[in-house]
């Protein structure tokens, strides 16, 4: 075990600023995402839905300025608001906003668009997903004082939100199931889908990509008309089938009974649990942790647990309503 210790934040921050950013929301279309939350979008929405950071109403913003002055640690004129979008796979980082904090809170309006006028490159990386981060930081170097931040662009408070597609959230995107794939994996002719997982999903890194093959013609038909009723229904079913394959692989992991949420949260399994938790994006981090732990425990519970887990998947994906639409109901 390492005995090395280091001071990560060797200065005092501002509890006023930390409290403020904890309550900020990301607006994604009509949805609200709480600070630290994640939203999963369809491929089409990922490329087109408007996204903005809501800085709160005018009253809350003015109150913050007053409280910051009363706190007396950092001067508002030394601070700035920075919003970025980043995507790790391609090391993309777009600076979306950088403005004096006083202006942002007093005259700058309530929201900051992340997609207008231009959609940042990170928000075009739908296979990898993106993180929107907001920082309140020092805009310039200030006089050094004991226990106070002084270096230009040191951040004092931050909030972030993850935006991804359903397939990116569980680290795969369907690929054509060709004759060659049938041959390589000795699959019977007529196979429609096949998920290749080489180790337990609890041991597969969250940023590893896994292979999910879908019949070539089916995939082509889906991409030709992705928003048709039947296409949406099939996409949902493919997602459910993939989760089913992942759950099956998990059940033969002899370490399963020992896993806690902390052990798996950075794994493919962690991503799956998060994707199917059914939590609204505005859910607070504490409630999120409770729900994730419950779902993990469900997977460990004998024969009935995984079945209940799969029922949860179906509910989250809303496959029943999609299927009714395909069959001519719900119109």
């Amino acid at each position: 075990m390492s005995t090395t210790q280091r001071v990560v934040r060797p200065f005092i921050g501002s509890s006023i600023l930390e409290g403020f950013v904890d309550l900020l929301k990301l607006r994604v279309g009509v949805e609200e995402v709480a600070s630290g939350g994640r939203i999963i979008l369809s491929d089409a929405d990922y490329n087109h839905v408007p996204i903005s950071v809501d800085l709160g109403d005018a009253r809350a913003r003015v109150d913050l300025l007053v409280a910051l002055e009363e706190e007396g640690i950092y001067r508002v004129e030394d601070l700035e608001l920075v919003i970025i979008a980043s995507s790790n796979y391609l090391k993309l980082l777009d600076i979306l906003h950088q403005e004096p904090l006083a202006k942002a809170l007093s005259t700058g309006g309530q929201s900051r668009s992340c997609t207008d006028p231009l959609r940042p490159s990170a928000l075009q990386a739908r296979r990898s997903g993106c993180t929107i981060s907001l920082y309140i930081s020092l805009s310039k170097e200030i006089e050094a004082e004991p226990m106070k931040a002084w270096r230009a662009h040191t951040w004092l408070a931050s909030a972030d939100w993850r935006v991804s597609t359903q397939f990116a959230a569980i680290s795969f995107s369907p690929k054509p199931l060709t004759e060659q794939v049938l041959k390589d994996f000795r699959l019977p002719k007529g196979t429609m889908r096949f998920l290749l997982l080489e180790e337990s999903p609890a041991q597969t890194g969250a940023d590893s990509s896994i292979e999910y093959f879908v019949d070539e013609e089916v995939l082509r038909a889906l991409s030709t008309n992705p928003k048709s009723i039947s296409s949406i229904g099939v996409q949902k079913q493919l997602f459910i089938d993939a989760i089913g394959s992942i759950v099956s692989a998990l059940l033969v992991d002899d370490q399963l009974s020992t896993y806690q949420w902390d052990d798996v949260k950075q794994s493919l399994l962690g991503n799956v649990i998060e994707a199917v938790s059914g939590l609204g994006p505005a859910t607070l981090p504490r409630e999120r942790l409770k729900r994730h732990s419950e779902l993990l425990e469900q997977l460990k519970r004998g024969a009935g647990g995984p079945a209940l887990f799969m029922a949860q998947v179906e509910a989250v994906v809303e496959v029943a309503s999609a299927t009714r639409s395909m069959l001519g109901g719900d119109q």
């Binding site: 090391k91 930081s137 690929k175």
Partner: protein, 251 residues
């Protein structure tokens, strides 16, 4: 417009054949690809320009008499990165974000370089790390792209290839760190290393200090001047760390 990709299974099959000594024609490689369609790609990808760039570098490496740069594997990697990144940088993010596209490039375009650069990995049977695109900082064409892009935009256009024998420098201090997304810091770091040529022992304390600054500071906002001043400060402090450690070990 469509772009070529290799599913993992196709890529594995082709690699096995190439490692077995089979010569596969470009047309056969192109024919084995799965073409993905995207409206964001308005012009066909200039595959020929990429192949030409690899051929040019190969000719220089294999020339009977060559300058020292062409015998330094990592500088060759940097030079190839500088040649190919501008072509790839014109592509839509949707294409660059597709692992299958990078697998296609590693086998159909960059295979000579993959086999030459990672000869030891081939002997160990570990070539997939450099072709399968699971890790962007390892896969060969992708890590070249990230390397050249990380230092692009400054006054010099050869920063990706200027340092001798610098594989560890790029991997440990640029590609795998946040510095890869902060061009002013990456450029200053390369320029510092070009000027001072720090040894591995000397650069580690600087890198540790830089990582610590990254924890608290939005270094991607730094101007060229701010970045140069910061890197120089950290170099001086890092050298003090090295001296202090040497004094301790002498006592």
């Amino acid at each position: 417009m469509k772009y070529p990709t290799f599913p993992e299974s196709v890529a594995s099959d082709l690699i096995a054949r190439l490692l077995g000594g089979e010569q596969i024609e470009d047309s056969a490689l192109d024919g084995a690809s799965v073409w993905m369609e995207t409206p964001s790609l308005e012009q066909a990808i200039d595959i020929g320009a990429l192949r030409d760039a690899v051929s040019r570098i190969r000719a220089l490496v294999e020339a009977p008499v060559s300058e020292p740069i062409w015998r330094d594997h990592d500088r060759v990697e940097g030079r190839l990165a500088e040649e190919t990144m501008p072509i790839l940088a014109t592509l839509p993010i949707e294409v660059l974000d597709d692992r299958g596209f990078w697998r296609f490039l590693s086998i159909a375009i960059f295979w000579w370089f993959v086999a030459w650069r990672e000869e030891a990995a081939i002997v160990r049977g570990n070539i997939s790390t450099y072709t399968d695109a699971r890790k962007s900082t390892e896969q060969i064409p992708l890590r070249l792209f990230l390397r050249a892009r990380s230092v692009a935009g400054g006054d010099s256009n050869d920063l990706a290839s200027v340092l001798p024998r610098a594989a560890d420098f790029w991997r440990s201090h640029v590609l795998r760190t946040q510095t890869c997304s902060a061009p002013s810091i990456a450029r200053s770091l390369v320029q510092m290393q070009e000027m001072h040529g720090l040894s591995t022992t000397e650069i580690r304390p600087l890198a540790r200090r830089l990582n610590r600054v990254w924890t608290n500071t939005l270094l991607f906002l730094y101007s060229e001047d701010e970045a140069a001043i910061l890197v120089e400060q950290l170099r001086v402090q890092g050298m003090s760390d090295v001296s202090a450690a040497e004094s301790d070990s002498d006592e």
